[in-house]
Amino acid sequence: MTRLLHSLLLGLTLGLWGAAAQAVLTIEISQGVEGALPIAVVPFGTQSPQAMPEDVSAIIAADLQRSGRFSPIAERDMLSRPTEASQVNYRDWRVLGVDNLIIGKIDVTGPDTYNIQFQLLDVLRGNQLTGMSVPATRAQLRRVAHYIADQIYEALTGERGAFNTRIAYVTATGSGKSKLYEMQVADSDGFGPLTIVRSKEPLMSPTWSPDAQKVAYVSFEKRRAEIYQQDLRTGSRTKLASFAGINGAPSWSPDGSRLAITLSRDGNPEIYVMRLGDNSLTRITQSPAIDTEPTWSPDGRSIVFTSDRAGGPQLYQVSASGGQAQRLTFEGSYNATADFSSDGKQIALVHRDASGQYRVAVYDMTTRRLQVISDGRLDESPSFAPNGRMIIYASQAGRGVLSVSSVDGRVGQRLKFQQGDVREPSWSPFLPR
């Protein structure tokens, strides 16, 4: 409490790593799961289910469902509850139309230490596709559940799962002089939020380093925009840019060596690339318009940004060393806030549709077409999961809500936070294996 009071007086607390924030949350499925593969996640066996701090198999089932590619059957429909392969009667699962079965058990190996064993079984062939035994402390249980969900996802789809990843976002609570801004980092399902910066002045635009160890962001703590980077393990942070005017919209280069940023020190907002280390600057754009929101292509060769040089905001692409920019978007009068998929084939963006609603859309770099994937009124800040299969975004009209959608927009879920505004979600890269 003393610490909290102290931080309020200071207006800003650094490195609150380890201080658990108010938890989320309920997860609501907002759309159906047509076309998803039926799967069964049997509750994992354990000596004392009541003593388990987390329901590991339920976390795995929720992850698989959130991807939109799997449809876990309800627990009450299960005819048996095996916890190891020798107990499985495959007919029990074939009659339910389930293709794949996940079973497992958890051994308590000490005070607050566990061993989690799971098997992914092919119901039709009657064999094991993958299986593993993973030790975990109490604090690691949710992360291990997400890790297991990633193994299952990869075994069944051939693509890497992105459940054991994190999101960074900004919350705003209170009003007037008691308004408080916090930058938080949570698991990809919104659980386990930790506050990394707290300020009475706005915080904005979190972006992850490619190794997922650092976050760069904009802070107005000195009553002007400045860009900082912060180490998530130690909480230590460094000021990177504090020029006259705007210091905004940081985006890390894929190799981690540079940061694309927006500066207006030369009179109006332009895109610059800052080399981390000596913090030297290269100006990328030259236009009297607003040029902002740079994002790197995954190959590091080009930068896509927002510019209103042709009237309203549209997306442009320019070489990462500067030069002539090419306009990408022509559909509609407002396209902004680009984020590349990890394969470089798609861009998520904010699009104002013909009826004036701000929605998340996906732009295909090959076909050059936009597809709207959200249905809100004021949707913003889309960010791809590192496997390119899901997009998280903020829905401003509904307070305290982040939405997660499949890339085709067919499956959506809402992460409901308890309090205040939740905004600017940024999905982390893959965590180191």
């Binding site: 706005p202 705007i246 919209a249 902002t292």
Partner: protein
């Protein structure tokens, strides 16, 4: 930028009428500007009397003073200062000219729609427009600083045009007042 220049031209016309010393030569030949702006300009010069000492008794702490009005509002996606608000700026310009030690912060803001970083850009453009108007009326550049908060500090919470119209603004902040 397009929209941003129009109010500047109008102010130039006013400045021409009042013999403002900061007038640039290139505006003198611009007939279109005079045609467009003269009506408003006459109004403003009548009400204000720049340089006549009208402002000597005006206090920025007096809630009834014209200087108590310190917020300029904008249309959606626009940084154009509306005619009525040019009068407000003319009052502040006169005060700042007479009090060269005074300095103000111009805070640009936007409504919540669309991109947050683009709105930071729009807020700065609005603050810069106001800055240029004040400078053209003889306020020293060292008396003015700008900051854009974009949509991050709304004056009014709400998700409709009534809230949005109050949030698209530039606030003239006299530090400590």
């Amino acid at each position: 930028m397009r929209a941003a220049w129009k109010p500047l031209m109008l102010v130039c016309a006013v400045a021409l009428a009042t013999g403002c010393s900061s007038m640039g030569k290139k505006s003198e030949g611009d007939v279109a500007i005079e045609d467009h702006g003269m009506g408003t300009g006459t109004d403003m010069t009548q009400g204000i009397g720049v340089g006549s000492g009208t402002f000597n008794g005006m206090s920025i702490d007096d809630p009834n003073s014209p200087l108590a009005q310190r917020v300029i509002y904008f249309e959606f996606d626009s940084s154009e200062v509306r005619p009525a608000d040019r009068d407000v700026l003319t009052n502040h310009a006169a005060y700042l000219r007479e009090n060269p030690q005074a300095a103000i912060v111009l805070e640009g803001h936007g409504d919540e729609r669309g991109s947050r970083e683009y709105n930071i850009g729009l807020g700065e453009r609005r603050a810069q427009t106001v800055r240029q108007i004040l400078e053209l009326q003889g306020v020293g550049p060292q008396q003015l600083s700008t900051v854009s908060y974009g949509e991050e500090k709304p004056a009014v919470d709400g998700h409709d045009e009534s809230a949005w119209s109050q949030n698209r603004r530039v606030e003239l902040i006299y530090p400590g007042r």
